[in-house]
Amino acid sequence: MLDVSTGVALAAVGAGISMGASAIGSGIGVGIAGAAGAGAIAEDPGKFGTALVFQALPQTQGIYGFLGAVLIMIGTGILGGFAGFESAASTMAGLVGTTPENAALVMGLAAVGGGLSVGLAGLSAIGQGITAAGSIGAVSKEPGAFGKCMVLTVMSETFAVFGLLITILILVGLKLLGA
């Protein structure tokens, strides 16, 4: 029996932060956009489609967080429970030539780092929600501004994309994925 429980715990924390923090971001962002959407719909129910598209944009951070969590769970094997993690740790130990305990610790910390990256980057959805709210107002008044407002709103997402990218690179770089 290997003592890899610290690694499992850390991996679970990583996956949790990934989904949890980005869900905070997306939830708040979607909420802000939705409030503006409700205002626009109150004046003209025909604006529902526009409001919905802009409200959907801050949701992507939550999806990235979800993806990050799933990738962490696949990479550390905890999708297959404790046994899954154990076997992943011993594979990793063989791969890099260290003890399974060390490998488990590395995997756990990589998961925390990856989770922090995409999870905290997911808070960018709050900013995106603010822009989306403004855009709903702008497009309700001037439908021609749809494309430009879309671009303004997508700007915040750049950081969430980079957050996800770094998560993936950490997981790949430390051989949790792709090996």
Partner: protein, 644 residues
């Protein structure tokens, strides 16, 4: 685009404008706005608007009134959103006579007279019947409340001496009412009341007419609501049945009137719609004259015309005016912002114009980037969705749009073509990277033939990253090349070197440095940095970091590509997990699978679309494109319903 100037005789004005309207290639502009020299201003006066316009406006309003009435009585069936997009009904086309000018106006008047003669009488009868119906139903409603009150309504009268009132009062006030009335009438008053519900009583009051005013005032203060029963007799129940009969007969009268009017609508509607459109065309034709200037016998008009149409328009103008006109063309010399832009793209590329125009129409002297945008957008979307089945879904959506609303609406057609095109590139990328509902085909169906052909994005992430950054570099450099060429053509050499050339030098320098040609590399890097430092001043450092950011931004292609595959994989895992639930497991699994994949397709399709656009608007256009040109809107006939 060329500037067109025409001087012609006033007597030829109408036929000339009619011909130009039919040709539909000249965008007419206000002459007065561009006349600057005082000499011209002395010679010319503003062209007044045609008095016929007012007449046409009145006629159009009368047409609208009748058509609105027809629509209210027998509305035309209308497509809902999904029907409009996927399977619209054939738009109506009405053959119209070739009439114009005074003949059209006279025709409109006589048509109006004819329609009004047949429609007005049933319309009035319908209005009368509907308003009487309204009154009767209000009466029925209040009579219902006193249905069981034992009284002959014929006795509820107002004569010179006697006034009888009937109504409803709050039940707890019935006693108060009778004591109060007896007090103010000194007992010359009869009050009968009967409880009709938990809270209300029916009250009958008979009093002398001379006291009736005081009586009604106190009754009102005590919460008494009077019921008007004039013209009714018998008990309330009898009156109600009489009223019911009347309402039924009125209802059938309204029905027959409506069907009569519906028949009239069927008879006249098309004629009215066609005539209204002809009137609107005529008004457009006359409205444009306020842009002209004139002398006693001549007028001058100016406008924009595409270079290729100049000769044909010239010939037509001379023909219509029998040679009594001067037609001149000049090159646009005003600011390019004022020159309207007529975009001409090859058939397939043309449909992507809508994406360019969302950012801004090209200016007159600017390149139209649509020919670059179309292939790159297709490529980017394909990389971001990377799933063959999702690609098929996208293509099917596009084809449905083309087969449905695309037949009649040009903007639905544009999106039909775009969806079909990006669907096809998604299929290609899905096949190359082995994505069929994520890993469904390989991991669950065990079809090994559907393995990745070039690489598996989930495994060779580094390779994927290098690939997308390389695509980004190529894309950005294409933009830089176009910008460089444009700047050189406009002889803006400073911009050409400070905005674009320095980056070529810098990039080649870095490449050489990495290939161990250190000296040449370093020199080229230095040249690049110096160039931008000289042209842009001390803040040049941000140009360098900005370019780095632009390149890194293309990494989103990787992130979104992996997101599609990753979420598809998760949906598959979830679906296989619920499969083991007893009895309903298989149904639940199918449900999770279908909803999950449709959600993933929708969200990542939207993501791929907006990020594909964003890469163009922010990173790519930034290198060479400004936009902000005005649309070419020729003076032309706008027909929606009629054909000649």
């Amino acid at each position: 685009m060329r500037r067109l100037h025409i001087v012609a005789l006033n007597k030829n004005k109408y036929p000339l404008m009619k011909r130009l309207h039919e040709l539909g290639v000249v965008q007419i502009t206000d002459v007065g706005r561009t006349m600057e020299s005082p000499e011209w201003a002395q010679l010319l006066e503003n062209h007044p608007s045609d008095p016929a316009i007012r007449q046409i406006t009145t006629q159009v309003m009368s047409f609208n009134k009748i058509l609105d009435f027809f629509d209210a009585v027998s509305p035309l069936p209308e497509d809902n959103f999904f029907k409009m997009v996927f399977s619209p009904s054939t738009p109506k086309v009405i053959a119209a006579e070739k009439v114009y000018g005074t003949k059209l106006l006279e025709g409109a008047d006589s048509l109006l007279g004819e329609v009004n003669a047949t429609v007005r009488e049933p319309e009035e009868r319908l209005n009368r019947a509907t308003s009487e119906l309204g009154e009767l139903s209000a009466k029925v409603e209040s009579l219902e409340k006193i249905r069981d009150f034992r009284v002959d309504l014929a006795d509820v009268v107002k004569t010179d001496h006697l006034t009888v009132l009937i109504g409803i009062a709050p039940r707890e006030r019935a006693g108060e009412i009778s004591s109060k009335l007896l007090e103010i009438t000194n007992g010359v008053c009869h009050i009968a009341s009967q409880d009709i519900s938990q809270t209300e009583s029916a009250v009958l009051v008979a009093t002398l007419s001379e006291a009736s005013k005081d009586v009604s005032d106190s009754l009102r203060r005590l919460g008494f609501e009077r019921i008007d029963v004039s013209g009714l007799s018998g008990t309330p129940a009898d009156a109600l049945s009489t009223l019911g009969e009347r309402i039924a007969s009125l209802g059938s009268e309204v029905e027959s009137l409506r069907s009569e009017i519906a028949k009239l609508a069927e008879l006249w509607r098309d004629k009215l719609l066609a005539h209204r459109e002809l009137l609107l065309i005529e008004r457009d034709r006359l409205d444009v004259e306020t842009n002209f200037m004139r002398t006693g016998e001549t007028f001058i008009l100016e406008g924009w015309i595409p270079a290729k149409s100049i000769n044909s328009v010239k010939d037509e103008v001379l023909k219509v005016t029998k040679g009594y006109s001067v037609v001149e063309e000049t090159n646009p010399n005003t600011a390019p912002e004022d020159v309207p832009v007529h975009l001409q793209n090859p058939p397939f590329i043309r449909h992507f114009q809508v994406l360019t125009e969302l950012f801004g129409r090209p200016k007159y002297n600017e390149i139209d980037p649509t020919f670059m945008l179309a292939p790159a957008f297709m490529l980017f979307f394909g990389i971001m969705l990377t799933d063959a089945v999702y690609g098929v879904m996208m293509t099917v959506l596009g084809l449905l749009l083309l087969r449905g609303g695309g037949r009649y609406s040009s903007s639905i057609k544009d999106f039909g073509v775009i969806f079909t095109a990006i669907g096809c590139t998604t299929i290609v990328f899905g096949i190359l990277t082995g994505g069929y509902f994520g890993d469904f085909a390989r991991a669950y169906l065990g079809i090994t033939a559907l393995r990745p052909i070039i690489f598996d994005p989930m495994v060779d992430v580094q390779l994927f990253l290098v690939l997308v950054l390389l695509i980004g570099l190529i894309h950005l450099n294409l933009g830089l090349l176009i910008g460089f060429k444009e700047n050189v053509q406009r002889k803006e050499y400073k911009d050409a070197f400070g905005d674009q050339f320095w980056l070529f030098s810098l990039q080649v320098g870095i490449a050489l440095l990495m290939m161990d040609m250190k000296l040449i590399g370093a020199v080229l890097i230095l040249i690049g940095v110096l160039l931008v430092a000289i042209v842009h001043g001390p803040l040049f450092f941000f140009d360098i970091t900005g370019y780095l950011g632009d390149v890194l931004s293309y990494a989103r292609l990787l992130a979104l590509g992996l997101a599609t595959g990753g979420i598809a994989m998760t949906v598959n895992i979830l679906s296989s997990m619920v499969k083991d639930v007893p009895i309903i497991g298989i149904v639940l699994a199918a449900l999770v699978f279908v909803i999950g994949h449709i959600f993933n397709w929708g969200m990542n399709g939207l993501g791929g679309f907006v990020h594909g656009i964003r890469l163009h608007y922010v990173e790519f256009f930034n290198k060479f494109y400004e936009g902000g040109g005005s649309e070419y809107r020729p003076y032309s006939i706008r027909r929606e319903l009629t054909t000649e």
